[in-house]
Structure formats: C-alpha cells, structure tokens
C-alpha cells in the first residue's frame, strides 16, 4: 500500500501515529504541520512587531533610549521588514492556512506528498533559526534595509556587512527551498486530489487565492534565489556580479564591473509578485469570511476567480515601478506605470464585489466579520495611495518618504494582517474545537483597526512634507516643522497601543484553548467542506470512513425556498430540505 498516495488511501489502511513525537513533532498530518508553521510564523512575527515598536520609540522620542543607536535602528528596520514579509506573512498564509485548509477544502485526507510537506516545515524552521542566529554573530544582523541593495549592503558602514548579510542570504536560500517543497505540494494537491464533484469552479475562493499565490511563489522566488546566490558569491568569492568598482573608506574595493541595478531588477522581479503572493490568499480568505457571515453568496464568483488569476499574471510585469528613481529609461517608466495602473482594474472589481456581497446581506457582526470589513477599508485606502505612487511623476518626489511607508503598510501589512485575524477567528473553532471570547475579540478589533489608522494616516502627511524613511533621526532640518515631531510622537504612542492590543489576541487564543465554550459542528453555518468533517477538530485522515462528494459550489447561502440558510457543498439536491410552501427546485 505504501505506493498509493496518502490522499487516496482509504481510512482503514492509514497509519495512525501513536507516540507523542510522531503525532506532534515529526508529524506527516497536514493539520499538525499547519499549526507548526502557524505557531513558528506568529512567534517570529511577534519579534518583528517588537522590533517595530523599538523603531517607533526612537522616532517618536529621539535621544531618549540609549540602547537604540543608528546601527541597531537599521538592524531593527531590516529584520522587521524581512521577517514580516517573508517569514511571517508568506509562511503563515501558505504554510499555515494553505496546509490546514487545502486538503480539507478539496475533500482529501492529506497533501499528495506528506513527507515533503513535513520536510518543508523543518526546512522553514531551519531558515528561521539561521535568521535569528544572525542577531548574535559578530557585527550583528544586517542593517541594509529589507531590499538588501548592493553595493552598500556589502560595504563597511552598513551594520552586519560581514557575517550578518551572509546569514541573511543563507536563511533566504533555505526558506526558498522550504517554500518550493511546500508550494509544489499545494499546487499538486489542488490539481490532483480534489474529491469527486469538486470542479475548479466549485472551489472556495480561498483555494483559488492559495493556488494562484503558490504558483506565483514558485515562479518568483527563483529570482530572489538568483540574486542571493550572486550576492553571496560577490561577498565570499570576490566575484563582481553586482559590485561595481568604487572607493570605500578611501580605498578602491576589489570588485569591478558589477551592476547594482541588475540586483534591483532581480529583487523586484521577486518583490512585486511577493506582494500578491501575500495578498491573493488574503483576498480569497476574506471573500469566504464575508460570504459566510453575510449569509449571502459571493457577488460575481467567476469574476472573482478571473480577477485573482489576472492579478497574479499582471504582477509579473510591474516590478520596475519600485525603481522609478533608479535612472531608468523614460519609456520604461511609462510602460511600468501603465501596467501598474491596469492592475487596479481587477483589484477594483474585487473590492466592488466584496461590498456588493455585503449589500442587503444578513450581516452577522461577528469578530471575523469585523476584521473582514476592516480589511475592505484598509485595503481600499492602501490601494488608492498606490495609484498615486504608480505614476512616475508623483512617485519621484514621494519616493523614499513616509508616504511610501504608509502606502505599503496599509496595503500589504495592515490589510493582510486584518484578513489573518479574520481567518484565525473564523477557523479557530474548527482548529481548536472551542469558541474564542467574543468581547475580547471585539476589543482587539477596534483597538487594532482605529490604532492602525492613527498610526499610518499621519504618515502620509509626513511623506508630503518630505520626511525620508529609514532615517534614525530627523534632526534639525528646515523642512521638518515642529508639528512633524509631535506627529511622530503621536504615531509612536498609537503604534505601541496597537502592539499591546495584540496581547488581547494572544491571551484570547490561549485562554480559549482550554476554557472557551465547545464550538460544536459548523458554528458559523458555513457551506465549504472543511466544516463538514465528522469530528471537530478534524481527526487524522479528516473524513472518517468515506471522503465527501461535492454536489454544488461553495456559496449556497440564503437560497430562496430552502429551509436552512445554507446548503453544505456535500449535500445532494434530494437531501435539501425545502420550506413547506416552496416546491422543490424553485430555488433559482
């Protein structure tokens, strides 16, 4: 039997792990691996959050904290960015939610390559360990900024230019290997292991988001790998792929003929799709949360699917909008501005469809729903400032100012985190079998939602003033008015309040694991397959004796004439209970 993929095995033939280690540590079960990914990513994300708090302390109250100096500030900034984008968001959305939800939503017992899946997590953990170790090597972690642009990344004057950068590049390389193993699994499982009746267009949008993002990751991460390998060789072997001839500290360096611009192209060929690798799973998950809690089918399902795929494709031809100030040819600027603005079309379709899903819906203002609606606000906000920056003429004066910081935090930081919270609260009852505390959850939402606005909205104004990002201290510059300093202090206070509010979330998750009321079966009345498992939380093998069969799409909510306000995907038409006065089959 060992040559039959795990996904296809009947329940009775599956090997159920017995010992603690095989069950919870070296587990092949996608749910355990998902939780391992999730917990590791959240832990490393909390560290990145603390780093941002330290940066805000320095910016809001300069010359107050002696343990933050220009070098440590740059290290905090670099590690905050890299951890948040790669090690938290990518890992949690795809490694965490992807792992948990794919087999359950497609109706199979596990990933098609469970062993590779386990290997993917342990490789990811290794990349995190190497990254964390870089804090402790001589010279500390790299402080080159998360983009790691050469030549300054490798030159004296940048913190961590010796060992820190090597550790960072090694860690990224390991992460990419881990992601490739995971991504191959996610894509193949969705293509191959869908249960009977689960056609592509019956899949919940969560799966479409994860599927497209995984494919994009598999195609985009090689660019980062290429850049990392070549930079590593510049650093260790003395090649000149990226390092030009230049004087450093009064001496000519040993390199000549390299092109720093080439690195920027490679980095952003990965970097821009990465935005959507993070955003698309979030788009998918928020669609499902909105539809479930509005008790309404998602508006324009087919358009939503196409928008995900089109956004995924377009995101590979916009990368150089991150490089408008690098001295590129004007016609290139025109091309990339045009492609960038075209992305706004499918994105806007999605936003309209989310709003139209809410329109006249039976809105249940649960905690996941609050976060999902919060996302529509923050994403629209961040998306609109993106329209400014997509235009070359507006981007040039705003480049490297706090306007950019405000934009990308709203669009891919806050928005994605809003969806992550919506998703965690939404699927928590399934994963843990318990309900969380609603009051704590609502406090968590309101402080986070209002707090992120009071943090990032004023940054747009600082950007208009011309305040540069990545500076340790603004100093006494004529263009920086006193009010900007006060604003900075205000931003810092609000950021720290938001940071502390996350303790409510952590406390809620931990407390509810033991003390939360039992969730029971399908507490939200959702249609998709993951809620239809015989056990909550689902046991090893997910489906008991028989895998489910799918009879409909994932959005049969409030169907006219039907007694219940939802019809699970695995319910055959003849089993649907109709209202007494409604003849069967009139539900269209």
């Amino acid at each position: 039997m060992n040559h039959i993929a795990f996904a296809d095995q009947p329940q009775e033939s599956m090997h159920h792990p017995q010992g603690f280690f095989s069950k919870y540590v070296w587990s092949l079960d996608h749910k355990v691996i998902a939780i391992q990914y999730g917990v590791t990513a959240i832990m490393v994300g909390v560290l990145a959050l603390v780093l941002s708090g330290l940066m805000r302390l320095q910016l809001g109250f300069p010359d107050t904290f002696s343990f933050i100096n220009p070098n440590t500030y740059l290290q905090f900034m670099t590690m905050h960015g890299m951890i948040m984008v790669v090690y938290l968001l990518t890992a949690l959305l795809l490694g965490g939610f992807g792992n948990y939800l794919i087999p359950l939503m497609v109706g199979t017992r596990d990933m098609v390559f469970p062993y590779l899946n386990m290997l993917s997590y342990w490789t990811y953990l290794l990349s995190v360990i190497v990254l964390m170790a870089s804090f402790f090597v001589p010279g500390g972690a790299t402080g080159a900024g998360w983009t790691l642009y050469p030549p300054h990344t490798l030159l004296p004057g940048t913190p961590g230019h010796e060992l820190g950068i090597i550790m960072m590049l090694v860690s990224l390389g390991i992460f990419i290997v881990a992601f490739t193993m995971g991504g191959l699994n996610y894509v193949t499982t969705i293509l191959q292991a869908r249960t009977k009746g689960m056609s592509l267009m019956r899949m919940p949008l969560t799966l479409w988001g994860i599927f497209t993002a995984s494919l994009m990751g598999l195609l985009a991460f090689p660019a980062l790998l290429v850049a990392a390998i070549m930079m590593m060789l510049d650093k260790l072997a003395g090649t000149s792929f990226f390092m030009p001839a230049l004087m450093s500290m009064g001496e000519a360096i040993d390199h000549s003929g390299g092109s720093p611009l080439l690195y920027q192209h490679l980095f952003w060929f990965f970097g821009h799709p990465e935005v959507y690798i993070v955003a698309l799973p979030a788009f998918g998950m928020v669609s499902d949360v909105l539809a479930t809690h509005a008790r309404k089918n998602i508006f324009g399902y087919r358009m939503m699917v196409w928008a995900i795929v089109i956004i995924g494709g377009l995101s590979f031809v916009v990368w150089a909008h991150h490089m408008y100030v690098s001295g590129m040819n004007l016609s290139f600027g025109f091309f990339f501005a045009t492609t960038t603005l075209i992305i706004a079309i499918p994105t806007a379709i999605k936003v309209y469809n989310w709003v139209l899903t809410l329109w006249r819906g039976n809105l249940h203002m649960t905690v996941p729903m609050l976060f999902a609606i919060g996302f529509i606000f923050t994403f629209t906000h961040g998306g609109l400032s993106g329209l400014f920056l997509g235009n070359v003429a507006i981007d040039v004066p705003l480049a490297d100012t706090y306007f950019v910081v405000a934009h990308f935090h709203m669009v891919m930081g806050v928005s994605t985190v809003m969806v992550l919270f919506a998703a965690i609260y939404h699927w928590y009852p399934l994963i843990s079998g318990r309900m969380f505390n609603t009051a704590l959850g609502k406090w968590h939402f309101w402080v986070t939602f209002v707090g992120t606005y009071t943090t990032f909205l004023p940054m747009h104004y600082l950007g208009f003033l011309g305040l540069p990002r990545r500076y340790f201290s603004m100093g006494e510059a004529a263009y920086v008015p006193e009010s900007a300093h006060s604003l900075n202090a205000g931003i810092s206070i609000s950021a720290i309040i938001v940071m502390l509010a996350q303790l409510l979330f952590i406390a809620n998750v931990i407390w509810s694991l033991k003390k939360g009321p039992r969730a029971g079966h399908n507490p939200w009345g959702a249609t998709s397959l993951e809620w239809q498992t015989p056990d909550v939380p689902p046991k090893h093998g997910n489906w008991g004796e028989k895998v489910p069969e799918v009879h409909r799409w994932a959005y049969d909510y409030s169907v006219p004439g039907v007694k219940a306000d939802f019809i699970p995907q695995n319910m055959p038409s003849e089993a649907v209970e109709m209202e007494d006065d409604s003849p069967q089959g009139e539900r269209s």
């Binding site: 056609s199 003929g257 009879h551 799409w553």
Partner: protein
C-alpha cells in the same frame, strides 16, 4: 473538458447538478505534475541567470569565453566530450525505461548502472574542465564571463546530482526486485529529468560558446543593450 470550458463554468446555477469532476487523480500523475512544475522552476532560475549574463555581456571589460582564437572555448572539443557523456547518460536511461516497460529486469539494471556511471563521469569531467580553465588563468573571479560559466555549470551539476540521488534509489529498488511496473514509473520520471538536464546543458553550452556579436543581438532583442 477544456480549460476555457472549466473556467467559464456557471457553478452557481441550480440546474448544474451533473458531476463534472471525477475525483482524485493517480499518484503517478501527481508526481509527473510535480516534476513538470519543478522543471519549470529550474527553467525560470536559469533564464534569469541567462538574462543577467546577457546584461553583463554589454558592460565594458566583459571577455566572452569564445571571443578570440586564444579564448578557452574557441575550441569546443572538451565541451563536446562532456556533452557526449551526458548524451550517453540520457540514452542509457531511455534504454532502461524501455527495458523496464518490457519487464526485463536484468537489462534495466545494467542500463541504470550505465546511466549512473555516465552521470558521475560528466560531473567529474566538468570538475576537470574547471581545473583546466583555472590552469589557463581563467579563474572564477577574473572576469564575469568566467564567473558565470563556473556558477551555471556548478548549479547544473548540482541538479544532476540531485537526480542521481533519486536514481540510486530507483536502481536499488530494481536490484531488490521491486515490481518492474513500479520501478518503470520512477525510471520514467528520472528519464524526463535527465533529458531535460541534457537540453538545459545544450542551451548553456550554446550560450557560453557564442560570439560577442550573438550576445549583442540577444541583448538588442531583449532590450538589454547598455549605452555607456
């Protein structure tokens, strides 16, 4: 059902009750898909390397490896010899596949061992070639063109060694007398990978031995020419 038909399906219509998706595919198909995607990833990786190589070829100081009669790859004899080894490996693994499909265990095993032998020989010959280049003064860091040759051939060899690890397992299973049908499935995947790596090597070969004029033409076609 075609992809277009799949993507234009109106899955929300209540009349739409027919089961269109038959259920999970075969494990062997999953492996084939995964290998296909993996080869696409490797292709992306090498395409990006090639593009950066072409960009570098436009900078002053870049010395193409086949530019002048005294350049190391002006005479491509050694490279052809290495290529012949990889072709040998590819032919041998194909022979193994045919034998496995016919159910002939002995010839399959012999062909697999020959594949492993040729593959190992190829890697050794590549190392020998590097030593030869270094001996001629074309070191890793002396010119970007050299750096690219060492780097790309090393990454190609690493991918081959990864394949060798899988093939050793397949050979072991064959030796142990595992059902030939199963072993043929593994050999089929390995054969696709070997042919792919041969094709990749041929592209790499062509790129490294091309003339500066060819680089300029490719650069112009890709919009990568640099005005300095």
């Amino acid at each position: 059902m075609s992809l277009i038909a799949k993507l234009t399906e109106k899955s929300w219509e209540p009349a739409h009750t027919g089961v269109m998706h038959a259920g999970p595919g075969q494990p062997q198909t999953s492996k084939k898909i995964a290998l296909g995607i993996f080869m696409v990833i490797i292709s992306v990786l090498f395409t990006l390397f090639f593009l950066t190589f072409i960009t570098h070829s436009q900078y002053p100081g870049f010395q193409a490896l086949a530019a002048e009669p005294w350049s190391p790859f002006y005479n491509t004899g050694r490279l052809w010899m290495n290529t012949a080894l990889l072709v040998g490996a590819s032919v041998a693994i194909h022979a193994a596949l045919i034998s496995a499909r016919r159910g002939a265990q002995g010839p399959t095993l012999i062909a697999l061992v020959i594949t492993l032998f040729f593959s190992a020989q190829f890697v050794i010959a590549q190392i020998w070639l590097w030593r030869h280049l270094t001996g001629m003064g074309y070191g890793f860091t002396t010119n970007p063109a050299n750096s690219y040759f060492y780097l790309l051939s090393a990454i190609h060899a690493l991918h081959l060694l990864g394949g060798v690890a899988v093939l050793v397992r397949a050979t072991w299973l064959n030796w142990q007398g595992t059902a030939l049908a199963r072993s043929a499935q593994s050999i089929k995947l390995c054969a696709s990978y070997w042919h792919y790596l041969l094709a990749l090597w041929l592209v790499l070969f062509a790129l490294m031995t091309a003339s500066p004029e060819t680089y300029n033409t490719i650069a112009a076609l890709c919009g990568l020419e640099v005005d300095l």
